[in-house]
Symmetry: C2
Subunit: 461 residues, 2 copies
């Protein structure tokens, strides 16, 4: 083969396919190489199946909390998983339809760089490319003691294949994947144990979220052990006997290993052609998503954390536009994160500490949701919202929330940060009643000393 493309994209996930589509829209001749399923980790093993799994689980749980609704519900686990798969297939199929519709040539197989303009694709042969975009993402990290067998020990990929509801599960890792799966399984009646090596769940995230996640999971009956690892494991047919670092012994039907991710930068010929990696194996890029090799770009999770599909989308578009000769920079200032529990958790922008480092004079304010009518109606009163803003300019710098619909309202905070909005702006924006988004008005008013639905002591005159 001697095809010559303007751009070849390696990887058909959120870091890859949007760039292929954009490059084609900009008139480039584009190919995309994918060894697995189109849509990548997000569509096939991450965001999409987990959110599909969570929706019915949350709905069933919500019904249970309504004492005036009588009757018992039973989840047909096999049909449930089939439904989740059908959603995944539909969205993955949508990606294929888009790529074909935009005239992107698809190659199925593992790719390897032979030189700066040549790829070798297994079963296909050599492909010539003016420019290359690497978006190979990450794989689940492994633990030597807990080797994934797809039977008893699982990662986020293999766990989606089980067709019978387990009676019990040990989730190793209390990051957002562990927390989402713990809430999911607890809500559908699985006995859930969670072991986290660090002193708290959601390590590295806002501490109020971390504490809230722990409280939420405990209320769901999840047995949480922090500062805990697995010391030994003995597998017997369809069961694992586990000893924890505390000495405690557990028997569970399944184990889910969710201890982080590692970059897929091996065996791609990256080092050989001069693409620089960082110490963890992620590809180093500049603001235009260009690697240390002039005609090679990278985008998405392979460029390092935060590992988020929507960040990958944007980076992929930026890489494609630059590959097409535009001058565009990726702006990492306002990248929201969501944990899809119920209530949801979300955050965007800077923490107080980051703001201080960046020369701001940050102030943070937290507000409970008790005064937000929709939170009362939807049982989300244990939630909260928090803003980080500059004390002098009142500019909004960060936002954190645990609330119903937090995943949706965090976008308003994202736009506010993007636009340089102040909390004065937020307090003057009319939010519809009754919604959770009213918290933006309420908390901004509180920060300005004039809340309408929150009691602050009157100052003495």
């Amino acid at each position: 083969m001697d095809s010559k493309y303007d751009l070849v994209v390696i990887g058909g996930g959120p870091g890859g396919y949007p760039g292929a589509i954009r490059a084609s829209q900009l008139g480039l001749r584009v190919a995309l190489v994918e060894a697995d399923r189109l849509g990548g980790e997000c569509t096939n093993y991450g965001c999409i199946p987990t959110k599909a799994l969570l929706k019915p689980a949350n709905t069933i749980w919500s019904i249970r909390s309504m004492k005036f609704v009588k009757g018992e519900l039973d989840l047909d686990f096999n049909e449930y998983i089939s439904w989740v798969s059908s959603i995944v297939e539909r969205i993955s199929g949508g990606v294929e339809m888009l790529l074909k519709g935009y005239g992107v040539d698809l190659y199925r197989g593992e790719a390897k760089l032979l030189d700066r303009n040549t790829l070798y694709v297994e079963n296909i042969g050599e492909i010539k490319a003016e420019k290359i975009l690497i978006a190979t993402g990450t794989n689940p990290s492994e633990l030597p003691l807990l080797k994934v067998d797809g039977e008893v020990i699982h990662n986020n990929r293999t766990i989606l294949r089980i067709r019978r509801k387990p009676s019990s599960i040990l989730i190793v890792g209390g990051g957002y994947i562990g927390v989402e799966f713990a809430s999911l399984y607890a809500k559908i009646g699985v006995e859930v144990h969670l072991a986290e090596i660090m002193p708290n769940l959601l390590p590295g995230m806002d501490q109020d979220l971390s504490r809230a996640a722990e409280r939420m999971l405990k209320n769901l009956g999840v047995k949480i052990r922090t500062n805990t690892t697995v010391k030994s494991i003995e597998k017997r047919q369809n069961e694992a006997h586990v000893e924890l670092s505390s000495g405690e012994k557990l028997s569970v039907e399944k184990i889910l290993v969710a201890v982080g991710r590692k970059p897929r930068s091996e065996n791609l010929g990256l080092r050989e052609v001069g693409v620089e990696l960082d110490e963890k194996g992620y590809i180093r890029v500049d603001g235009s998503m260009r690697t240390s090799v002039e005609n090679i770009y990278a985008s998405g999770d392979i460029t390092g954390p935060p590992l988020l599909a929507h960040r990958a989308f944007m980076q992929s578009l930026v890489a494609a536009e630059n590959a097409a000769g535009k001058k565009v920079l990726y702006d990492p200032r306002a990248v929201p994160s969501v944990i899809f529990t119920e209530p949801e958790m979300a955050f965007v922008g800077m923490s107080e500490e980051e703001a201080r480092k960046n020369g701001y004079k940050p102030k943070s304010l937290k507000m409970p949701l008790g005064g937000v009518a929709r939170a009362v109606i939807e049982g989300g009163e244990e939630g909260f919202a928090k803003i980080i803003y500059d004390e002098d300019t009142k500019q909004l710098l960060g936002f954190v929330a645990m609330a119903p619909h937090a995943s949706e309202i965090v976008s308003e905070a994202t736009l506010a940060i993007e636009m340089g909005a102040s909390i004065e702006d937020l307090s003057l924006t009319i939010h519809p009643h009754p919604t959770i988004s009213e918290i933006f008005g309420e908390i901004s008013e509180l920060a300005l000393g004039r809340p309408k639905h929150f009691l602050i002591r009157k100052r003495q005159k």
Copy 2:
């Protein structure tokens, strides 16, 4: 009595209590007079009870659509209504707690202006006030033929008192109240008929929403008659025999009259002290919420449509700040509206026609939700989003959506309009995946000719 207040607020609803609180925060001596329950129409008979009623109905309905969830649910209607009442009482109680906490004196009774500085409150006596804020809101409009009896014929207030699920109901009026109640009753298994005098539902609103509402209600089994009124009615114990203008005859257990609102501006002594009303009886105000009488302000629904609690909140605050000597104007540019069906409907800003009248060069673009993953997961694919923007400047002017969580995401559009954001800004804002708010990015990219999740034909070179 010879009390002398800086500000007396007449009405304890969304147009009244926020202003009383704000005025107190600003150091004024404030009283509030309320003849009924604190919280007004919204808390007691509108937004709050209807949203509380809808939440379980929508959840039960959502479960039914999940074929993999087995089992039958039964709603204990009496307990359900008790739960709704407890929510209402809690939120109404919160308003009382706030007013007391901020030192606002509460008077219970009907108020009447004796002169520009004097009120007479029944059972209390005269109250002197430097300034007065009128926030008396509206009452449900009546139909001579369908006089509300609280037994067979109801309005939005009396219908909340019924404690046994009716087998059938005729809703007269297809505005947002009629549409919300129709979806509610249909979802809990009531036979629902809806009669609207105009050719379509949601008259005066965006036509795509209007059509979508009709389709949605039809799918729920609601029998809709447009261009239709009630010609005659005969009540027999717990049943009404109705003849429609078409000649069709119906027997229903209940009738809900939802044909609009009328201002509560009678018997207040308004005309006598010189407060100008418009031809419909609403109070005329300027941008500072001042009436034609210098020391008398008005806010909320009594100032005319759109009748919305969140608009009333803001107007009330503006009135209070001006009463306290500040100079603040109410900005009506971006007031969102929501219809709490499921999917929800929401809109904010200008229609294409309004934009044209205001000197813009508007363009509108509608996008289905099929490419938005969360809409697929949550069964909201029949939904859509629409933007109205200026063709030259790309400034966002309006937003319309039928989508899951539309009530929450409309706040981002509201902030965008407030901040003068362009669709370029929206396309560069990173929305979390998978959420409905991604539609802002997608539709803006489509308007700019470069969508990532939507196929447009490639132009011939």
